[in-house]
Structure formats: structure tokens, C-alpha cells
Chain length 466, copies 2
Amino acid sequence: MTGRPKPKREIRLNAFSMNAVGHQSPGLWRHPRDRSAEFNRLGYWMELAKTLEAGLFDGLFLADVLGAYDVYGGSPDAALRHGTQIPSNDPSLLVPAMAAATTHLGFGVTSNLSYEPAFPFARRMSTLDHLTDGRVGWNVVTGYLDSAARAAGLARQRGHDERYAVAEEYMDVVYSLWEGSWDDDAVVRDRARGVFTEPSRVRPARYRGAHVSVDAVHLSQPSPQRTPVLYQAGSSPAGRVFAARHAECVFVSGPSARAIAPRVADIRRLAAEAGRDPAAITIFALATVVTGPTDAAAEAKLADYRRYVSHEGALTLMSGWTGVDFSSYGLDQTVTHVRTEAGRSAMENITRADPSRVWTVREVAEHVGVGGVGPVFVGAPSTVADLMESWIAATGVDGFNLAAAVAPESFEDVAEHVVPELQRRGRYKRAYAPGTLREKLTGGGPRLPARHPAAGFRTLPVEAVE
Amino acid sequence: MTGRPKPKREIRLNAFSMNAVGHQSPGLWRHPRDRSAEFNRLGYWMELAKTLEAGLFDGLFLADVLGAYDVYGGSPDAALRHGTQIPSNDPSLLVPAMAAATTHLGFGVTSNLSYEPAFPFARRMSTLDHLTDGRVGWNVVTGYLDSAARAAGLARQRGHDERYAVAEEYMDVVYSLWEGSWDDDAVVRDRARGVFTEPSRVRPARYRGAHVSVDAVHLSQPSPQRTPVLYQAGSSPAGRVFAARHAECVFVSGPSARAIAPRVADIRRLAAEAGRDPAAITIFALATVVTGPTDAAAEAKLADYRRYVSHEGALTLMSGWTGVDFSSYGLDQTVTHVRTEAGRSAMENITRADPSRVWTVREVAEHVGVGGVGPVFVGAPSTVADLMESWIAATGVDGFNLAAAVAPESFEDVAEHVVPELQRRGRYKRAYAPGTLREKLTGGGPRLPARHPAAGFRTLPVEAVE
């Protein structure tokens, strides 16, 4: 079912960035037109948000990693030297200023539940949902770097499956706060009676888990979406089960439709098994667009970009993602010699794409150097649109999570040239739908549907607040 | 020395608010002109920031409490009913949008170090310092509500003195990250050599305390101020020692100059003992201004405001601050019958003001009902200016932390009417000084001076990043 083309279904575009230099294109900060080193400036982000809204992007998705990439060479030196996702700042603090500069654009914020206590985190997301009028999403991550655990004063991170056990408890706690603590009609603002909130319509979220606990009234009143739109990107078995249970949007990444298709089918199958509507999960595939007036001009632009790729920067990312120290391999060794560890494996994302192909370490670095593990859609706008349509037909994804090769140029190019082509084909909206990010993405209401596990927390045990 | 008038010294004004309804004037949300219930909207805050910048306020200071006021009556019911600092949202997320709407205004953000892990918190503050061009401050609090501890899944909060022991470790950790991890010249952005950051100029902050630990490179590159301007408001003995050691700005609160003066002297004395310049600590006294064209008009305005005071709301605040459940006392009982617990005691702030005066619970509620425990400066602009000058002469404070009776009206009134009067007297700036918030406040550089304990963390152990 999921692999079948769905003609004329709207293609969704999401911009993928990070409050950091470079992000998914290591070395490209050296390109003369790249402005990503301006990430410390509000103006850079407000301008980008306006560009994306002009291109009717559904959202800007902000990645985050709470630690330095220090697997390569056993130190953060290479990451520092190449600006590989360090320096990097907090993503959530970009949202209010971008929200002030836009009306419709959604904002996906990555937050690592292993290191952010649930109670203040839940309030931060509610605050963002209020301030943006319901345009916020949360990318649920559990982390993959031991450096983040050491930053928190721990020896190392929890094991992979334990992280997902913690994540399940964490979700229960934040659902209790977001969905159950306040009734919709709790805030009455009755000046005559002197009642701001009816206490009988508010109750504490009470949860005692092995890892996460809470006993408190949520501090924020109900926000437009209550639970922010939930994104997830984990590709491991535990990650897919988690995504199928919780996620409304899933990010997948791999270099070919062939690599992506079975994962998409698996996510939808698991969602159905979890009692959810599999079609209601919006799946975005990582991709990078390089376009120009003609195919030749686009290819020339990509060739120019490639001159700035940093092999070492790319392998620093790959080492962090896979846990394999690529500094100990020669560039001409083939990656079949590298056995990645169990769990999340970006390496396998690549090597599985075409089992008959043998990749050298150099080829991996060059592939990752522009747009990470995703494909580069290169060509005139019509060629890029063709590629997008064929990927969607072959994989069943709903759209693309577009990284930048050169920022913000790559986003501007899509907004100005590719979007009009998709509109001509009837595959892209001509205006935003009204309402919250959830309403725009799903066509449903502003709140999670009744079949979502969060709905189970809407009726907390009825008891007096005491 | 500190009690002596310092003629013509500039009076500093800080606006005191909270990402909540009401804040320091319980019940006043019912006033027809009060707009504080719009705290969920970006526009409300951006407009307020512009008003304050037009009035050349040094900063907007955002209080925060990570829990509900549930001492009164043993439940949060009264706090909910009267909108007593609940609902409330995260303060830090207001700053980026207000920064985009202003150029000079500073922003003080309250963050409770008992419940926010040091590593991601330090990055959030660095992010704000970057995005605001060095206009951010941090109000260091350790909390006073058990409800905040329960929200974090704990049975109760740590003991008062232990909280300050934790605070000392926490400061060491964040100083290490802010001051020591990156050299000023670490980021080189050398396109030709392909070096974004010189790894030899970055090192991990390594600290293992009994309560707080870190072993990580800070993720943000050096921001304009590195350590944000440090605010503190603790009035207990342990709180004053902490403030004297760390704080650059101190908030004091009490209903009379007589109550404030010895505390100001004590803070400056302790700072001198800690090896710091006592005059370099900027001390703000809590106050609320109600002004009008004439004294009579101002008094009439205050009388109108007082009609909306909520006694129960005020006692809900007092109960939270003192740990005493005021619901068990009659309004006509005298507060000399109430023995407050050791530690921070807002009650003593009031009763010490004039030891000969006997306060009833009702009088306390009425006092707290407009502007919390601070005084109300009521009168024509010249009267308000007289009161400010005499308070400064009598106490040695540097200025005022101004709460609103009716928001944002109280702030607008000060900016439009009191500030011009202070300017005529030569006691108020006519333009902002250039530079960061620290430069504006101290006349010094953007970084903490060499005598501050943070400076001791500028040279972390020299070792290879490994």
C-alpha cells in the first residue's frame, strides 16, 4: 500500500537547520555565499523564517545535539576545527523571534529528554505553543553521544533500549501535564466573581516512574495544541516502535528511495499495529536541493559546492552517528570492512542503499559532505520536481526535510524556483491552511486525535487538588 | 558610607514583571485597564519592551517560580482562583522577541538552579547573550516552594543552607563553561585554511562536585558578556553571603527605607569582605509607582486600584514566601502572633519596618496587595521623584525595581511622566550608554571584573582536549 503512488497528493516541505554553523554540509561554511556562521544573530533567523514562509514551507525544523562530536580521533578537535555542529546554541530560543516575523510557519524544536527535566521542559513547550499561536513541534530525541552524558556529569549515556524505556515514562509525564492537568474551560477570567481559574478544573499530574516522576499542577494554561506536534527520527527497532506509538511526523534519511521505502512501510505497519491510522503519520525524507535555470547550471552549482566539502568534517559526523572512529581507516578502504555497532547506524543507511555497490570511506565522506546521508536532488526546477515525485511514488513518504548545502541560499532557491514548479503540477499548496501547525499538517483539529496515546491522559484521576 | 546621600548620582530603573497574570499585585488583573492576562501573547511583551526602552529603563526583570503557591490552605486552589502567579510561562522565551523589538533594553531572567541542569542552562544563557548582543542577565534563585521539588519528582526541596551549597557548586560549573572553556580568539573562521575554531583554544570544563558535575566543552562560542549579568534577591544570611560573593545587582524589598537601609549596608560590607568593590554592586529596591497630574489625582488612582486588591490572593503570596499558612489566621489578628520560620521571611521584611507598629493580617494583605512587600510611591511626578531621591539618600540603593499595579499602565506612567522629572533633576540618563548590559550598568567592560570569583575560572587547567 505504502509504496503505491498517490497522484496529486500534496508534497510537504520542511526546512532542516540547526542553531549552529554548517549543519548537514560539513565544510560548506567556507563557501563565499554561505551565511550559516551568522547563526548567533537574530536577524539571520528572522530573515530565514520569512523566506520559508514566502515558500509556504510547513515548518522549519531545528536539529540539536547536546554534546560535541568526539568519536572521530577520540576528541572534539576535528569537530571544532571544521565547525561540525559546534559551536551550537539552544534551538528553542530562536522560535519566539521567528514567530514574531511570521504568521503561518511551523517550528520544530529538538529537545533531548535524557538531559532536560520534564516539568520545566513541558512548560517551555507550552510557552512556545502560546507565543506562536500553536505553531510548535517537538522532535523527541534520546541522544547518541556519550559526550552529552559527560556534560551532565555522568560517566556515559544510558544503553539504547533503556533510553527508550525512559522516553516512554517521560512521554507519560509530559502528556499528563499537557493533556490532563487543566480542563479547556479552567481559565474563566471572571472579573465580577474574582475568579481567574476555576480550581475544580485543574488537577495535579501525578506519576511515579522508575526514571521520571512528577506531582504538580502544570503551570501553563492550555495552549492551542496542548501537546506540540510530535516529531521523531529514530531509525533503530526501538526508535521505530517509539515513533509508531507517539510520532505524528517521522524523519527518515538515506541516500536512495530503495533504502527508504522499507523503513516507511515498517513505520506505517507498526503504527497500524499500535492502533493508529498509518496514513496520518507524515513522513519526511531528508534531501538537499541544488537547482538552477538549467540542469547544467545546477550541476555546475553543485560542482562548485563540492569544492568546499570537508572530508574530515563529514567523517566526524559519521563517527558521531555510528560510534565508529573513522580516523582509524584510510580514505580508500571500503566500508564493508567497518562493522557498525548495534543500534542507530547511519552507515547502514548508506550501505544498504544498493547492496551491490562497494563504498570507500572517501565516497562516504563525499556523499555525506553535501546534505548528510540524504540524496542531493540536482537539476532545473522541473528535474527537481520530477525527482521529488518519483521518490514519493517509490517510497510512500509525504514530503522532504530539506537541508541546505549553502545556507540560506539552498532554501531561497527552493522557495523561489522549485515551489512554483510544484504548484504548477498541482502538488503543492498555494496558500497555508488556517489554524495551528497540527491542523495545517493533518487537516484535523488542533489537538491530538483520540487514538493517540496522549489522549489517555486527558482524564487524570478525578480528585480534589490537595 | 552607604547611608550617605550621593548627590546627582544616576537613579537606575528596572521594570519588574513575570510571564504570568498579576505578579506583585494580586487581584489587580480585575482592573478594567489591566492587560497582564495577555501574557501569553508575543505582542504584549514586544510592546512593553518598547515602552520601557522609550523610558530608558535599564532592564526588564522577569521573575519566575517553578511551582504553584500551595501553602495557603494547603492547596493551590487559592492561587488558581486569584491568578496568583499561576498560570505562568517560562520567562526566557520572551527575551528573543523583545530583543528583536529593541536595541538597548536589558533582560533579567530568573532561573532556578535547583531544577535546571547546569550544562543546557549555561548554553541557553549564552544563546540569549548572543541573540541580544549582550543584554541578558540571570537572577540566581534556589527556590522556596516544596511544590517545585514535587514537580521534579522529589518529596521536598533541599534545606535552605544546602541549597546555597549546591548553588556554589553550580556557579563554579557555569563559570567554567562561560569563562574558561573557550578563548576569546578561538573562533577564527579561516576559510583558506579550513579552520572554523582553533581546537587548541578550547578545553573542557571539568568539575566534580558533591551535587553538580560537568566534563564537557561548552557548546556556545564566547558571547559578548560571557557570564550574564548576575542578579540575586536572597535576603537570608546565606543568601546575602551568596549575593556578596557573586551578584552584580541585588534586589531588596521592604516597605520602608528604615527596613532596607541595614540590609543594603550589610550587602556592601559583605562584598568588601569578599574582596569586591562594594560600590560596584547595583542595588535595586522593590517599589511601585502610582502617579497622575497632581498628588490628588494620583491618590485617587491608587484608591481606584485598591478596590481590586484580593486579600486572599495577597495572603496566598505571603504564605508561599514565608511558609506560614495564613488561611488559619483571622484577618484581624496581629502578625506579632505569627512566628515565621527561619530563613527567607517576607513577613519580617514588613514587621521590622517600624517595630512600634502592630500589623493585622488584613493590613499585611492590603499592603502586599499593591506592589508586594515594597512601598507605593504615590503622587504627582515631582512627589514620586522626591520619594525616590529620599529613599536613595536614606538607604544607599542605586535605584528601583518597579512592579506594576496595573500592567502595563504603571510602566507607561513612569516612562512618560516620572522619567522626564528625574531627567530635569539631573538624576536620570538622557540616552543609553553604549555596549552590553554590563557596560551600561557598571561603566566598565563587557566581562566580569578580575576581582569577581568567576575570573578564577578563566584559566582552566591547560591540557589537550582529549
